[in-house]
């Protein structure tokens, strides 16, 4: 390749790659540097590991890290698990399948905060869930469902919001598998579950990995669902980051949490994606 050609390629890539590098790279750079004591809003700019030390020693941080990782894993795996059977069901068009598909994808168009607000109304003391429980006689009085300690509300919202995204990715992948390949598996003795495990899942593993990665990253950094519907005894990483910044003006420590969140998103999603491929590969060797 001549230097002229290399220059041309770089010039052509600059509008796209440049924006990515400048926008994301600069944010990442500033966050990392801030976590080590630079870019201080107040005080001196000096290299220091103190902020990392303080954050890593904090119990609140370790709880937030575990909690965000848990929510992200459950959201990613749960969304994929829920989306697969629906994607397989919708694989071949039938009367009404387009409407069903559109309805299932509707949550993609609802902002997370709006979804949380609607959810809170549904599970509130005066909400329809409590009304139903009382109508059936299961409870005598309204029970507290908001901000539950088990984070079931957040998990529900994550699945509600992310399952359609997983469905979007998986439907295309599942539809690309020919009828004859699935018929062949059936003809060779594979029942429904074996057809999924040995044919559908391995052939759609890339879509599955993409869904796992994207959902994991989104759920790990959740703020909206957590502050509205999440448990009050634990904070998510994003919530903890904002808490540090807002409550005490600890920008450097907030940056440490931010960088940790990025590391969690990167490695967590990669581990999940590699694990998915590994499980499928060993499943095929059975």
């Amino acid at each position: 390749m001549t230097w002229r050609r290399a220059l041309l390629i770089i010039a052509l890539l600059t509008p796209g790659l440049g924006v990515i590098l400048v926008m994301i790279g600069s944010v990442f750079y500033v966050a990392v540097m801030q976590s080590f004591g630079y870019y201080n809003l107040v005080g001196e700019d000096t290299f220091s590991l103190e902020h990392w030390q303080k954050v890593l020693e904090s119990k609140q941080f370790s709880r937030a890290l575990r909690y965000s990782a848990y929510i992200a894993v459950v959201a990613a795996i749960g969304s994929v698990i829920l989306a697969y059977p629906i994607a397989i069901w919708l694989r071949r068009p039938f009367r009404g399948s387009l409407v069903i598909s559109a309805l299932l994808k509707a949550p993609l168009f609802v902002p997370g905060l709006v979804a949380s607000f609607l959810f809170l109304n549904v599970i509130a003391f005066h909400g329809i869930v409590n009304q139903f429980l009382m109508w059936t006689g299961l409870t005598d009085a309204p029970i507290r469902l908001q901000n539950d300690r088990g984070a079931w509300g957040v998990v529900f919202l994550q699945l509600w919001k992310n399952m359609p995204f997983a469905l979007l990715l998986l439907t295309g992948a599942v539809q690309s598998i020919s009828d004859e390949v699935l018929d062949a598996a059936r003809d060779l003795g594979a029942g429904s579950f074996d057809r999924f495990r040995k044919v559908i899942a391995p052939l759609t593993v890339q879509a599955m990995q993409a869904a796992l990665i994207i959902i994991f990253i989104g759920a790990a950094g959740d703020f909206a669902f957590q502050v509205t519907a999440g448990p009050t005894n634990v904070q998510s990483m994003a919530q903890y980051m904002v808490f540090l910044k807002d409550s005490f003006g600890r920008w450097n420590q907030a940056a440490v949490v931010g960088v940790s969140l990025m590391v969690l998103a990167l490695f967590g999603s990669l581990i999940l994606a590699i694990l998915a491929r590994f499980i499928l590969k060993s499943g095929n060797k059975w």
């Binding site: 062949a184 003809d187 060779l188 594979a190 052939l203």
Partner: protein, 347 residues
């Protein structure tokens, strides 16, 4: 003994399309039966009903005397070779072949033996670790065949397995399929729209049209003695002429008056003769036709001549030589024993 049998089988799809109507067919053990017909005639539907992918709307399927109508494909003693090969793209050649036996809990040692033997037989031993997309079409088809045979099924169903191969490879794989069928002794049901494949491979040919069986018979029988205008026209070339009976052994057509060896049945609608039935040399006498050549097409071993007479347009005959031109006169004789009568309508 009957290996597979369809009894009064019909299939009507959800959109109301009748794909099959009252199909009764018995296939013996070790027989190679071809379902032959044009697209949409119901041959693949019938094959899929045999495989268990479709349930018949009415009627039933018996395998070795047992009713398997409601049995799913994985519970039937059949294996299918698909038109698109349908190999698992994420598995190697050996893993593809091993898939069925593994699924059916065949012990590992036996599985390995089966895979090795079959890959050797289809000449793919060296390709065992390759993924299917690294193989040619012919090799993929052989993997599909080995995969089906690894199940040791008593019936193998072939759904137009050669349609994606070029002409030369098709003939080679055709011979290999027939060879393996004779070697293993399995019953084969083979779907094709290619008459030459059907005639070359089959013990019996089932000619289908519009969801019905037109004729069942040995290849020679369906070619030499077609019963309907459709069979005569679909298998090879045939000249079909309306006729009027003069007496039991004489009929009148637009080509002239013919003496025939067998009198026409009461429901016969057309006189039928094959282009290669024409004999050349005689210039007068019974069954002699003289006409001008309206069209010619050199075919190598013969020349395809077309003649047209009022009421008998576009009659074809095979001229053994090449020296003929449009406008030349040709005289030929149709031997009485090469004239047949068929019933039915022209497509």
């Amino acid at each position: 003994m009957t290996a597979l049998r369809s009894i009064d089988v019909s299939k009507v799809f959800e959109d109301g399309f009748t794909a099959l109507a009252d199909i009764n067919l018995s296939i013996d053990h070790g027989e190679f039966v071809t379902l032959l017909g044009p697209s949409g005639c119901g041959k693949t539907t019938l094959l899929k009903i045999f495989a268990g992918f479709y349930a018949p709307t009415t009627g039933r399927i018996e395998q070795n005397g047992a009713d398997v109508t409601s049995a799913p494909p994985e519970k039937r003693d059949t294996a299918m070779c698909f038109q698109s090969y349908a190999l698992f793209p994420h598995l190697t050649v050996a893993e593809n072949v091993e898939f069925g036996p593994k699924q059916n809990k065949v012990p590992k040692a036996e599985r390995i033996t089966r895979v090795d033997d079959l890959l050797r037989q289809v000449d793919l031993g060296k390709n065992r670790d390759k993924l299917p997309n690294k193989l040619s079409g012919g090799q993929q088809q052989r993997v599909a065949l080995a995969r089906a045979l690894a199940m040791r099924p008593s019936v193998v169903l072939f759904d137009e397995p050669l349609s994606n191969l070029d002409a030369k490879l098709r003939e080679q794989v055709r011979r290999e399929i027939r060879g393996l069928q004779q070697q293993f002794g399995f019953t084969a049901i083979y779907v094709t729209h290619d008459q030459s494949e059907a005639l070359a491979m089959s013990d019996r040919v089932v000619v289908m049209s519009g969801g019905k069986i037109e004729q069942i018979g040995a290849p020679e029988e369906v070619y030499q003695r077609p019963e309907t205008a459709f069979v005569a026209d679909f298998i090879g070339s045939a000249n079909l002429l309306p006729f009027q009976r003069v007496d039991d052994y004489t009929v009148e057509t637009a080509l002239g008056r013919f003496t025939v060896a067998d009198p026409p049945d009461s429901d016969a609608r057309f006189l039928c003769w094959r282009p290669e039935a024409a004999e050349y040399g005689a210039s007068e006498g019974d069954n002699v036709v003289a006409s001008e050549i309206s069209e010619r097409a050199y075919q190598g071993s013969y020349t395809d001549l077309h003649i047209s007479l009022p009421g008998a347009p576009d009659q074809r005959l095979h001229w053994p030589g090449g020296a003929s031109s449009v406008g030349d006169h040709v005289t030929f004789r149709l031997p009485p024993d090469r004239i047949r009568f068929v019933r039915g309508e022209l497509g």
